[in-house]
Symmetry: C2
């Protein structure tokens, strides 16, 4: 089984200011592609809007007009990209935004 903890944060060389290697471009593009989906951005903003900083997956399903499998899919994509962390508490799974990951993504564009 896959861990419920946050995946490692592999960070990213600056995008501009020097030619980037093919590998660097590929991994950076993969990250951007994760954000290149309206549903995922809405999920991110929903999580960010919570005062507690975390949201149960069930709430996210109710909030968007998407099916449960689709929401689960998007959460998985963002989790595997290191953008979200998750924690199981009983039957529920709570998702959080991995701030450092967003910061490193921002630094890519510096």
């Amino acid at each position: 089984m896959k861990s419920l903890k946050t995946p490692p944060i592999f960070c990213c060389p600056p995008l501009l200011g020097g030619r980037v290697t093919e590998t660097e471009a590929a991994s950076a593009a993969a990250l951007f592609r994760v954000l290149g989906e309206p549903a995922r951005l809405q999920l991110l903003s929903l999580i960010a809007a919570q005062p507690s900083g975390e949201v149960c997956a069930c709430e996210l399903v109710e909030s968007l007009g998407l099916s449960q499998p689709t929401v689960s899919h998007h959460l998985k994509v963002m989790y595997e990209a290191g953008l979200l962390s998750k924690e199981r508490r009983g039957t529920w799974i709570y998702y959080r935004i991995v701030q450092e990951r967003l910061v490193s993504l921002r630094d890519l564009l510096a």
Copy 2:
């Protein structure tokens, strides 16, 4: 015909810190999706690496292992996303990075 000048910079509401509308999510995602392509990131870094800040399209074709139509396609996508500006000088067309656009994109993740 389309103008050779920089397209207008329509800017972007903060992504986190408040629920984002469906329209906002769509336009932001479109921008991220443009960067979600390794070839385009390599093109960006190639342009950024130039001391003059601009590159002739022909150089970009030679630098990457992609065909001329493919490079032309990627440049068009980035141009229409407001990430690049272009200027024709004689037979050649020179592309530049639109810094403000990248800055506003960074601000999306603040």
